[in-house]
């Protein structure tokens, strides 16, 4: 059967410079082919690039920003609160996306649209308010310099309602820090690839949504039955309670035990004081509540409060694994309260915790190695675990003060300025690396190298499987696992749901074929959906290729080849360059790309209409 439901078939396009908004119809063919989320985003960004002859600066107001939930967003099924922000990334200059949980995307859908795109630049700092069918662009220059959390409160006050959802940028976004994020629901973030800077470049402080509409579902009875089955599976899982309690913080212990936890800017992959910053410590001393994304029984997010000491009173939604690892062990910080404080600071400033942790770590190591002088650091010394200096540096990045002005431009710019930093900073294509050390896991290396947004684990996260059962995997198995992940994980982003029930608790991906069927009325097998997701992967590759990348860019940070972890189970291990190149060639062949990583000629036709 063809598409029956699941969409509003509306695309809201806003041109900030003209103050105009228009609800454009969406064709069934578009909805069926690109599904939603990053699929919509990639297609709209591709169209915009073609119109502009592939010549666009990410911070140019004409760089299109797409916000797209999926057909399953907001639907009664496990963890349906995901929305993708898609644009050309200021960090990499290439395709970029980042997804956000919470409820923002659900409320956006309830205004009756499937996708929002924004272009142009508002004459003064403004807020987009989508109130059901009405869209207004409201100048709010008084929000200039306000933190994400404060701005969210002020906007609610100004609009006279608390019943709205807000995606907002902080000072970092306004100052176009290339790893600025978008914050929603008081502390959830579309963290990666610098989406916040794109909003800043558009003079767009926030997108506010309030929707009332029914989310279209084709067969609600079957949907409820399927969801009950899925929820029953999750709730009976032996680790379900642990997920509710610790959430992603349980990964700290795991990563430390396996030797993949970044410590001291990836100099090491275990942290001796891991028990001071792990999930158990959080539970016994800091956690005051659970927080869930929309319709998620797992509630993996935590709310923490510092109850005594220097950071008393700090409240933060989080931390999750990445933030804790990058702002803790990676900077030599063993004080959990300080990690919470740094996480809260990043939330307020609207700055990605992963990139921030990488860059601050690289600065500390760069100074230690003599690449950066005290003058470079504006006379302010910084060492491992120096909480005050670290918090100070984070602020200076957001406000672009002193060295912060250079650091704010991200890894690439730092390497341009100090070429020796190339050996220190961990990045691929300009995006700083996630908190999983790939040195003991070549498939994870391949995942980072071939991720369309740079060194992020969102596209493929094969490290756990390789560490546990894949030490004797053949090259074929490694590549197949990476490609399967690169099909399935982005599919979750296209559908508008979270992947954690699948990756963490083993909820069968077959459920999603049924969810899709019951919501849209369209029969499609998982394999067909994966093929559509794979097409989008080809499309993002095509975008990147047209923006200038080739095989040489599908590489890994210097440390991965040259500097093994100092201690722990993986001490001495690095990835061999030749092994990696062999694996990369195999990966290209299996994807049908040529030796230089180019998708087949004529593939552009596929994405023309």
């Amino acid at each position: 059967m063809s598409l029956q439901s699941g969409y509003f078939k509306k695309h809201l396009h806003i041109v900030l410079s003209e103050g105009s908004d228009e609800r454009l119809p969406l064709e069934d063919a578009f909805l069926e082919k690109y599904i939603g989320g990053r699929g919509f985003g990639a297609k709209l960004v591709w169209d915009n690039l073609r119109k502009r002859k592939f010549n666009i600066d990410p911070l140019d107001p004409e760089n299109l920003l797409v916000v797209a939930p999926g057909p399953l967003s907001g639907v009664y099924l496990p963890a349906s609160g995901k929305t993708s922000f898609v644009t050309i990334s200021p960090a990499t200059g290439l395709y970029g996306d980042s997804s956000i949980g919470g409820s923002f995307g659900v409320e956006l859908r309830q205004t009756g649209i499937d996708v929002l795109s924004v272009t142009g630049r508002a004459p003064e700092l403004s807020v987009i308010f989508i109130d059901n069918n009405e869209t207004t662009i409201i100048p709010m220059p008084e929000l200039k310099g306000k933190s994400c959390l404060e701005a969210e409160g002020l906007i609610k006050e100004r609009l006279g309602t608390h019943a709205v959802h807000i995606a907002v940028i902080g000072v970092a976004g306004e100052n176009m820090v290339k790893f600025a994020c978008v914050n929603a629901d008081w502390g959830r973030n579309a963290g990666r690839t610098g989406i916040g800077a794109v909003m800043g470049a558009k003079n767009l402080k926030a997108i506010v949504v309030r929707g009332q509409k029914d989310i279209p579902v084709y067969d609600i009875t079957s949907l409820v039955a399927e969801t009950e089955k899925a929820c029953k599976y999750l709730e009976e899982h032996k680790y379900f309670k642990m997920w509710q309690q610790e959430g992603l913080m349980n990964v700290i212990e795991y990563a430390n035990e396996k030797g993949i936890l970044p410590a001291y800017n990836f100099k090491d992959s275990v942290f001796t004081k891991h028990d001071q910053i792990n999930g158990a410590t959080m539970l016994s001393h800091y956690k005051i509540g659970d927080s869930a994304c929309f319709s998620c029984p797992m509630c993996c997010s935590n709310i923490c409060l510092v109850k005594n000491g220097k950071y008393t009173g700090t409240v933060v939604e989080g931390p999750e694994y990445e933030s804790c690892a990058m702002l803790g062990p990676n900077l030599g910080i063993d004080n959990f309260a300080a990690i919470l404080s740094a996480n809260r600071l990043c939330d307020e400033l609207g700055m990605d915790t992963i990139s921030t942790g990488n860059i601050v770590g690289a600065v500390i190591e760069g100074y230690e190695k003599g690449i950066l002088s005290l003058t470079d650091l504006d006379g302010r010394e910084i060492t491992w675990g120096d909480e005050d200096a670290i918090l100070d540096l984070i602020q200076r990045i957001a406000y672009r003060e002193g060295i912060g002005d250079i650091l704010a431009n991200g890894a690439r710019h730092i390497i341009d300025k100090w070429p020796e930093m190339d050996k220190i900073i961990l990045q691929v294509k300009g995006l700083e690396q996630s908190a999983y050390d790939s040195r003991p896991s070549i498939s994870m290396g391949l995942a980072y190298a071939t991720s369309d947004i740079g060194a992020h684990h969102t596209r493929a996260w094969t490290i756990a499987k390789e560490m546990e059962e894949g030490q004797d995997w053949s090259d074929d198995e490694k590549v197949d696992t990476v490609i399967y992940h690169q099909k399935l994980r982005p599919l979750f982003d296209m559908l508008g749901v979270c992947r954690l029930p699948w990756i963490e608790l083993g909820l069968s991906e077959r459920h999603y074929e049924n969810f899709y069927k019951y919501v849209t009325g369209k029969e499609a097998t998982l394999e067909q959906l994966l093929e559509l997701s794979n097409d989008v992967y080809d499309l993002t590759r095509l975008i990147n290729v047209r923006l200038g990348i080739s095989r040489k860019d599908d590489s890994l940070p210097h440390k991965v080849w040259a500097n093994p972890p100092l201690t722990g189970p993986n001490a001495g291990r690095v990835i061999d360059r030749e092994d990696f190149q062999k694996l990369l060639s195999l990966y290209y062949r299996k994807r049908g790309w040529d030796e230089d990583g180019m998708p087949p000629a004529g593939i552009e036709k596929k994405f023309e209409d």
Partner: protein, 177 residues
């Protein structure tokens, strides 16, 4: 009916599953804005997730303001007489908890009917934050709430960007929600 629907906000994660299952059961649609229960979230000072649903008051404020006597407390549940309701929404405004809702697509106010004694939200809450308990056990959650609020500090000073601020945690327990 002797059972009451009660809320333990400390357990609520804010996932909104209660809202979804309520709208699906009563309206057959997937729309959290058509539910008789909503989770209100405050952050960061204080942090609170509070599901707000009809308390089935024995002397309901909503019934007192109803000009057509369409709301009546019968056997532990406030019933809405759809025939007599004029949709003036005085009840929505009168409820001291804000636990009656309005939606532009709906002709009538949305009020909890306890799902004939077996509320969907209670069954589907993944955290056990919504419970159906005997009337005599009422207040247990509140007692727990209060005790928990004392495990926090009552008042603390902290600094945010060099500015001194104060949080009053004990107020969590004082709120009449």
């Amino acid at each position: 009916m002797s059972k009451k629907l009660t809320v333990i906000p400390e357990l609520c994660s804010g996932c909104s599953i209660c809202e979804l299952v309520c709208s699906i059961r009563h309206f057959g649609v997937n729309n959290p804005k058509k539910s008789a229960i909503r989770v209100l979230t405050t952050y960061p000072h204080p942090v609170l997730r509070m599901p707000i649903v009809c308390s089935q008051c024995k002397t309901p404020s909503c019934a007192q303001v109803c000009p057509t006597d369409a709301l009546r407390w019968i056997d532990g549940v406030v019933h809405l007489d759809e025939e007599n309701c004029t949709s003036c929404y005085k009840c929505v405004e009168a409820c001291p908890f804000g636990a009656i809702y309005a939606h532009e697509d709906c002709d009538l106010p949305i009020i909890c009917d306890m799902c004939s004694g077996d509320p969907e939200c209670v069954k589907k809450c993944p955290k056990g934050a919504l419970r159906l308990i005997p009337e005599a056990a009422l207040g247990e959650a509140k007692r727990l709430n209060n005790v928990l609020s004392y495990t926090q500090m009552k008042e603390i000073e902290y600094y945010e960007k060099g500015e001194k601020k104060i949080i009053h945690y004990a107020e969590i327990g004082k709120e009449e929600l």
